[in-house]
């Protein structure tokens, strides 16, 4: 059901039946390694290119989710996935493996919530009994495409972020009576916001306005107060983006408890890992939400959370053509029954 200008309420309360999370060596040494289902100790994962390893991450996350939910892939109607690589080929190739009718989506690092919002909508209106959705990224494959060869001695400034090697996938299903599973209750779809920033090594600063815009729109559409949620977590704003977004939200009149405003990119790694301003990538929000945050919700730490995945919609070409960085953010609210 449409609520307000750009939000959906999922009145039939679709559930996240299960989720799977996979990661690479850096994440294995990170802050949330306990919440990963599959961890690899090198970036190749038994394949002969980074791009192929990227596909493996998503396949494993998806298969893990299906195993945990005890659902066969033949019983899943649709698969919604995306990543950062050109033409989202790792996701498409994972769809080739899993053989479920497939929607490929691109939202850069906001893909996870874009997928979750669409999956929830489809299940809510009985367009499917089960929809599998996921997002992933691979540090080396992304660096190779967007920035420099991985062995190049370039110097990253302190505003740069580290692309997560990881994938998160969730099985969204119709609600069954008596289940104690997380429910996706609403979603707010973001607009493209571009504040004229051009530095591809400062994604956080570019994405913060999009996050603030979507969060503001969510509370306005849903007519709620920020205190409704135990946690508002952004995808990968990083140190700079998070501080900037918080100030923007205050300027918009939203009083959010600073302790309840977190960022997946700042949660996933330890302080001594060389990640400059924090983690990023389509896999960042997916891996943190579908692993750590859902586990925390099941343990009772959070009852209602708002996940706002943020994406920077640039390409290597737009930067060379002196285009600024357009950004977007999608929000999904998840509540324990």
């Amino acid at each position: 059901m449409l609520k307000g200008k750009q939000s959906w309420v999922f009145q039939n309360r679709p559930v996240i039946a299960a989720a799977g999370v996979s990661g690479g060596p850096f994440e294995a040494n990170g802050n949330l390694s306990e919440d990963f289902d599959v961890l690899h100790d090198d970036l190749w994962m038994g394949e002969d290119s980074y791009e192929k390893a990227h596909r493996i991450l998503l396949e494993e996350a998806g298969q893990t989710a299906l195993n945990k939910a005890n659902v066969q892939k033949e019983d899943v109607q649709f698969y919604i996935a995306g990543d950062l690589i050109n033409q989202i080929t790792p996701s498409s190739l994972s769809a080739r493996t899993i053989q479920i009718p497939y929607f490929g989506v691109f939202g850069a690092c906001s893909t996870s919530m874009e997928g979750l919002a669409l999956a929830s909508f489809i299940v809510n209106y009985r367009g499917a009994d089960h929809v599998l959705t996921g997002a992933s990224s691979h540090n080396a494959a992304v660096e190779k495409q967007f920035r420099y060869p991985t062995e190049y001695g370039g110097q990253k400034p302190p505003t740069a972020q580290w692309t997560v090697t990881g994938a998160g996938a969730a099985l969204v299903s119709a609600n069954a009576a008596g289940s104690n599973l997380p429910v996706t209750t609403s979603a707010t779809i973001g607009k493209v916001i571009d504040m004229g920033l051009t530095d591809p090594f400062n994604m956080g600063g570019a994405m913060a306005p999009a996050a603030a815009d979507t969060i503001t729109a969510h509370f306005k559409d849903m007519q709620l107060d920020p205190s409704h949620y135990d946690l508002i977590v952004t995808g990968d704003l990083g140190r700079i983006g998070q501080e900037t977004a918080y100030e923007l939200l205050k300027n918009n009149g939203l009083n959010i408890d600073r302790e309840k405003f977190k960022d997946c990119g700042l949660m996933i790694y330890k302080d001594d890992q060389p990640v400059q301003s924090g983690g990023s990538g389509a896999g960042c929000s997916a891996a943190v939400l579908y692993g750590h945050l859902l586990n925390q919700m099941k343990q009772g730490t959070y009852r209602r959370i708002l996940v706002v995945a943020t994406g920077a919609l640039l390409s290597p070409l737009t930067f060379q053509q002196s285009e600024s960085i357009p950004c977007i953010a999608h929000a999904v609210s998840i509540e324990m029954t």
Binding site: L43, W44, Y50, N139, A140, E143, T150, E151, G154, D199
Partner: protein, 118 residues
């Protein structure tokens, strides 16, 4: 011998500081910075300043990428001296070839034997 080591260190270091300022203050990419430096080397040799610098600072002038511009101009001028204007085209790579040849050859060998480590 020892003074040469000292000046190589200082002059080489200063070229790099100049490059770092282009990186951090002017926010130029490595591609832009190195291209600018190589052009600088060519211009300095054109006005006759690079050779004295190399005599004085040794590797401090021959190792930074500016020396690439310098030796291209050198080769061109040497050939033009002997064969007239057409020498500007034909002579450029005579003095410089080792840098580019080495990069290509070792690049290929590198691709044969190494895998990237991420």
């Amino acid at each position: 011998m020892l003074p040469m080591f000292f000046w190589a260190f200082v002059i080489g270091g200063l070229f790099c500081v100049f490059g770092q300022i282009l990186f951090d203050v002017f926010k130029l990419t490595p591609g832009h910075t190195l291209s600018l430096l190589v052009v600088l080397g060519a211009v300095l040799d054109g006005v006759g300043l690079y050779e004295p610098l190399a005599d004085f600072a040794g590797a401090g002038a021959t190792i930074p990428i500016t020396s690439f511009g310098n030796s291209l101009v050198h080769g061109a001028l040497q050939e033009a001296d002997q064969h007239g204007l057409v020498g500007v085209l034909t002579g450029m790579f005579e003095v410089t070839s080792s840098g580019i040849s080495a990069a290509i050859i070792f690049g290929f060998i590198g691709a044969l034997i190494f895998k990237p480590k991420g």
